[in-house]
Amino acid sequence: MIDRSAAPAPEKKLTFDLPEIKELSLSNGTKVLFVRKDKLPIVYTNLIISCGSKSDPAAKRGTGYLTSLLVDEGAGKFDSLELNGEFEKLGSIFSVRSNHDMTSMTLTSLKDNFNRSLELMSDVILTPRFDEKDFAREKKKVLDKILQLKDEPSFIASSVFERKIFKDSYYAFPEIGFENTVADISNNDIKKFYTQNYTAANSTFVVVGNLTESEVTDKFNGYFSKWDSSKKSSAIFEKPERAPTSFYFVHKKDSAQSEIRIGHLAKKRDAADFIPARIMNTILGGQFSSRINLNLREDKGFTYGANSSFQYYREAGLFEVSTAVNIENTGEAVSEILKELDGIRKEITPKEIEFAKSYLIKQFPARFETYAQVAKNIEQLILHRLDIDDLRGYTGKIESTEIREVSAAALENIFPEELVVVAVGEKEKIIPQLKKIKGVEPEELDLNGNPQI
């Protein structure tokens, strides 16, 4: 019989060689961050363009998002369907995504088909068609999608929450835009957005693949050496302030649950206490065994899951607790979350800190397993303008973080008196529950986060 009472000890400590990131320059000045990865004959390319909904004209929110949908609807000598067919024949996957800060074009291809795939990608970047009929079709699709989003409680909760936190700054508005602002966008607006923002000076390539350094430089110079790099776009962020805790709700008829978001504006990614704050949040709500999830799910059974996170946009951070609970437990769930926010400021045990540090340090290598994962780490460096060696120091900084720094991070990053509390659900059921928490009448908002009149 074996002794099953104790966990088997790990073998000697693992050494992990962080992949080396090479910083290359194309002849037009565009930067390429390259990691050589030979395991499979795959090349993953991501073009990161510093534009997104932050670059939207105020009256035409959604322009950046719609541009990202249209840019690959035909380019060079191919119309929309032909272009898509060309990628498919190569077995390559090409897609364009856009968020508040960045637009990114990703290409996954087999090494054998990389050249031809990159050529197609260069057509999309340099010579998109923006045909009128494609514009009309995709714009209508976006308007119908906005209509459909009215059905999604989690989208409503998150977008209303960000609206309240970011007030009138550019992170306050959903990337997709609003019905009336998208309705006002013309194909000329799209072309203008493209010309102003999809520029070499705004862009960086990330390449992870089974290639040599000179292969990368040669291939990319072949397609992009003439890409104009003179124009850089910028948008001005008007930083909002935190305000005393307020309760809001959005009415959603016949809802089986309420979607809850609780949080506030937070520091940026480059804050000095980023690491201690991350350790603190790992304990609070950053993984399954966190205080918030164990309380709301494993103790109370209110929810399928609850978590907290710091989310980092380029110019601002956001602290958010997110869950969906049985509608009858809305008030209790919010109270328990508030209790946890107070609690983390009062006490964190050395054991909890050891657990969180171990979790964060030891999971680090797994963040470099796939080609896209390696690129994802580099994309974060670009987004937050971090030093290329930032990843190298990451686990060491966690290791050396002291208990008092984690406790201090709770006091300096969690503000229980300055929260935005949003619940989305059947109002007859949630109003009395929210009111009971602090005796304050919650304010009703519409689906776009405006006061309900």
Binding site: R4, S5, P41, S80, Q257, L294, Y304, P365, E369
Partner: protein
């Protein structure tokens, strides 16, 4: 192309207690992934007791004789690993991926719940997880637009007593009623080593791994013969239409056709058929409904094949002001055109090349590979079937795709309409 990459070197053997073991050493990255399939899913349940296999999966994370409640999460996360489980109609799986120096930890955890789960079971834990699962059902299905469509489609496509006619998560009224002794019986019936297969992949020493697997799993008692599943012989082949009101803005149509089970004769041809119909902007239905006529917001299809049976599903959301009748009529027109007019070489090339590279892309992640080895072992009794699987698709001809469409998509079917609430 780099097809030899798809040839997987592995070792397979069976312990005395019946546990199948598959070892897949791959030293290219410092991770080890452990993946167990138990051959039990919601198809093993009975009407009135639906959702039990899934609820049981939750109970497997509530600890066992030597592991405290949520201990699986705590141990694996502290080691920097990731873990989860999932329940389908045919099987339940559990997996952990850990840094390679922690390779033994998942074996200890998995063997404790395979052999000694009942020692940690309490009424309180069951009550808690019933609440969690009811909230999972609310969050993932009831509170989602169109969220209950899948269960409404399948409970109509299959007859009442067919094991694929109820949802994996179970009906709400069944979940509320489960009792502790049922958990115990379920464990004794299905969670024995002779009803499971263990795949370990990644960076490890094969001898050490073999010894350790014997140490942790070897003394777990074999269970009895696992009861089979009774499949009613009759299918619903007459066409029927169900209309459901939901909190939605746009109506959506679901069409379900009976087809064939996984890895059967026409299974791969039906997958290609689905690609030709909906997998890209150029696919027949996308091109017609979304690109040209612009009557639909989206359209999807797939051959949903499993161990006992299969079905072909087409789903499309109507644009505002467009009726589901006109969507259906356009879908059926395109299907007839495909059957009478044939498929182009270009369409076959696009479908096959996309599939081929997707096999290479899928080799990037160890936990996907180990799960796939279990998948092939379960269906084909041969873990190393990536190449065989790919060849199934490469060998499909245009004529076979047309034949499959003719054979199955012109028959009686179940039509489900989700429409906005009228009040």
């Amino acid at each position: 192309m780099a097809k030899n990459l798809l040839k997987i070197d592995y070792e397979k053997y069976t312990l005395d207690n019946g546990l199948q073991v598959i070892l897949y050493p791959d030293n290219s990255f410092p991770l080890v992934s452990v993946n167990i399939w138990y051959s039990v899913g919601s198809a093993n349940e009975k009407p009135g007791k639906t959702g039990f296999a899934h609820l049981f999966e939750h109970m497997m994370f509530q600890g066992s004789e030597n592991i405290p409640k949520e201990g699986h999460f705590r141990y694996i996360q502290e080691a920097g690993g990731s873990l989860n489980g999932s329940t389908s109609i045919d099987r339940t799986n559990y997996y952990e991926t850990v840094p390679a120096n922690y390779w033994e930890l998942p074996l200890w955890l998995e063997s404790d719940r395979m052999g000694f789960m009942l020692g940690g079971l309490t009424q309180e834990k069951l009550d808690n997880q019933k609440d969690v699962v009811m909230n999972e059902r609310r969050q993932s299905y009831e509170n989602q637009p169109y969220g209950t469509a899948w269960e409404k489609l399948f409970s109509n496509l299959f007859p009442e007593n067919h094991p694929y006619s109820w949802p994996t998560i179970g009906w709400m009224e069944d979940i509320t009623k489960f009792e502790l002794n049922e958990v115990k019986n379920f464990f004794r019936t299905y969670y024995s080593p002779n009803n499971a297969s263990l795949v370990v992949g990644g960076n490890f020493d094969t001898n050490g791994m073999r010894n350790s697997i014997e140490k942790y799993f070897g003394d777990i008692q074999s269970g009895g013969k696992v009861p089979g599943i009774t499949v009613p012989p009759k299918k619903n082949i007459e066409t029927k239409k169900i209309i459901v009101e939901d909190s939605i803005q746009l109506p959506r149509i679901y069409l379900g056709f009976h087809t064939e089970k996984a890895f059967s004769k026409n299974d791969a041809a039906l997958d290609i058929l689905s690609d030709v119909l909906t997998s890209s902007k150029n696919a027949r239905l996308q091109k017609s409904l979304i690109f040209e006529k612009q009557i639909a917001q989206d359209v999807y299809s797939f051959q949903y094949s499993a161990r006992l049976d299969g079905s072909f599903i087409i789903i499309s959301t109507a644009k505002p002001g467009i009726t589901l009748e006109s969507i259906k009529s356009e879908i059926m027109t395109e299907i007839s055109k495909l059957i009478s007019g044939g498929i182009t070489d270009d369409e076959m090339l696009r479908a096959k090349n996309s599939l081929k590279s997707s096999y290479i892309y899928s080799l990037q992640k160890l936990d996907l590979i180990t799960d796939h080895l279990n998948h092939y072992n379960y269906f084909l009794n041969e873990p190393d079937s990536f190449l065989f699987d790919l060849s199934r698709y490469e060998n499909v001809t245009k004529e076979q795709v047309i034949e499959a469409a003719k054979k199955y998509l012109l028959n009686g079917h179940t039509e489900l309409n989700f429409i906005p609430r009228t009040k």
